[in-house]
Amino acid sequence: MNGIPRRSDQGEEALPETAAAERQQNSPWTPSSATPIAATRSRAGDSREAPSQGRAVVLADLNAYYGKAHAIKGVGLDYAANQVTAMIGPSGCGKSTLVRCINRMHEEIPGAYTTGSIMLDDQDIYGENVDVVAVRRAVGMVFQKPNPFPTMSIFDNVAAGLRLTGGRRGGKRENIKDRVERSLRGAGLWEEVKDRLSEPGIGLSGGQQQRLCIARTIAVEPEVILMDEPCSALDPIATLKVEELIDELKTRYTIVIVTHNMQQAARVADTTAFMLAGELVEVGPTERIFTKPSDSRTEDYVSGKFG
């Protein structure tokens, strides 16, 4: 993780534009306008060489509660930087709750709390004097149902993160315009919406809305992206597009994806973790989990005996 370009202390207005531009030129994943899917397919292979920005996340003895209900029971888990980790398991096993702990969204539910630690590099996000709001800037989240802000245009939706988190209305107009375009390109949505940026975000199709939400998330330049069943509300074509996108995104972000769809886990994830009843049963390379799981419960689940 030494090759990470350090960012300026001056906040987002002074975010290294040059570095960003550089990234766009150098990075192999700059989306092509014509055939995004085919183009990204061919590039997926060399994505590891891209300048990495993602960070490792390490869970240690993580417990989560809803009032008295113990939803996550002592989970320890390493998320490697710039990898896609899938969380699988039957409904109610706590995989969504676990993921919501990683950007401290869990505690937004009245009565909910956590114990244990989650290290983002060398910092415990549950440590003392840690700013929750800042944690969420570093760890972005994409939700199950696409949730663009209904009162905002496509452009404003993507800019929302910048404006909501920045001071002085989020910085200079030009700066925002660049970032919006870059984020929309990053989410593979630019070509589809560039001529109607001022139209309302909720006018898009479901799949486009979800990619808009991803654009909104990457616009604030997080280091980890959590995805809570991002495709469960989408049709197969839209799902495919989002999966392609996830594959691209991992060059820059560490990705944790919750899914109830094992095929999806097999398609997108480098690592897969299986949870059951709030406990982590098994974690390992995706292929091994699906072919030679070491735990019988995992085997029962991936072979469709329950869940």
Binding site: N103, M105, E108, P110, G111, V133, A134, V135, R136, R137, A138, G140, M141, F143, K145, N147, P148, F149, P150, T151, A160, G161, R163, L164, T165, P200, I202, C213, R216, T217, V220, P222
Partner: protein, 294 residues
């Protein structure tokens, strides 16, 4: 339930059904009769009182046949001023309280206590609010400034507050939780989530609730009786005694059986009714176009 025929329910049951339906329908028509009668009478008697003088002159206090009777200018302007001030106080505070309830205290005993007190406030008779503001702000003040427009506005604001807060709470609860989560997950501080995401999404509903509260306040007489006193001149200084339509109508009717004063009371009633109906209908139109909440 043993009937096998597809066409025949027992005649008695069918008759009961028809009779019951008719009774309910007739009762509904009956419920609308007063509205029709009131509107008919107010328009009938009020319109004849309207003329240029009615809108451009202050009341003079003269009886019919004893000189110029004047109009109701001060009352109309006074009502608009007082209600505007009351709205400026009650709407922001009401929405703030509703936000406190929906964004910070959905459950929990403290939220329930505040909710309970808002309910109590809703039940307080308007005239008791009038007494309260009288005791709080009028009594014991130097006579020159004892009664004032702004004090009436406070009394109306107290009346509006629970209406605004209650309706705002309902509307804010309708804002999908997913929007708040989306904004929070972007790393937005809570207050910005509220100001930039939650409030805009709820805007049409908030507007409807506020307009209905304004309409309610505009027609209230009781909170103003003991707080703005009686006067006939137009003033734009809220520190002065102020006239208002409801109090003017009340006093015209109370103090005399003079046909001229009565006629102007009807004219004033028509102005008031028109203002309130327009506000009501506008409020409903606004509520119908709410893209954010479905």
């Amino acid at each position: 339930m043993s009937a096998r025929s597809l066409t025949l329910t027992s005649a008695r049951r069918r008759r009961t059904d028809v009779v019951a339906r008719w009774v309910l329908a007739v009762a509904t028509v009956l419920a609308l009769v007063p509205l029709v009668l009131v509107v008919y009478y107010v328009v009938n008697k009020g319109a004849s009182a309207w003329n240029t003088q009615f809108f451009t002159k202050d009341p003079t206090g003269n009886s019919t046949g004893f000189g110029d009777e004047g109009g109701l200018k001060s009352a109309i302007l006074g009502t608009i001023e007082i209600v505007a001030i009351a709205s400026a106080i009650a709407i922001p505070i009401g929405i703030a309280v509703a936000l406190w309830l929906t964004e910070y205290h959905r459950g929990g005993w403290l939220g329930n206590v505040v909710r309970y007190f808002i309910d109590v406030m809703t039940g307080v008779p308007a005239i008791v609010f009038g007494i309260f503001v009288y005791l709080l702000l009028v009594i014991g003040q130097p006579p020159a400034s004892a009664y004032a427009g702004w004090k009436g506005a406070i009394a109306l604001a107290l009346l509006m507050l629970p209406i605004v807060a209650r309706s705002a709470e309902v509307v804010l609860l309708l804002v999908p939780e997913s929007l708040r989560e989306a904004a929070l997950a972007l790393g937005a501080p809570r207050w910005k989530v509220i100001m930039r995401i939650v409030l805009p999404a709820a805007l049409p509903g908030l507007l409807t609730g506020s307009l209905l509260a304004i309409a309610r306040a505009a027609g209230e007489t009781a909170p103003l009786l003991f707080t703005i006193a009686v006067t006939s001149g137009t003033t734009f200084d809220p520190g002065q005694r102020m006239n208002s339509l409801p109090t003017q109508i009340f006093n015209n009717l109370n103090s005399s059986s003079d046909p001229g004063l009565i006629s102007r009371a009807w004219g004033g009633a028509l102005v008031l009714l028109a203002m309130i109906f327009v506000l009501n209908i506008f409020a409903r139109l606004v509520s119908r176009r709410s893209p954010a909440i479905r």
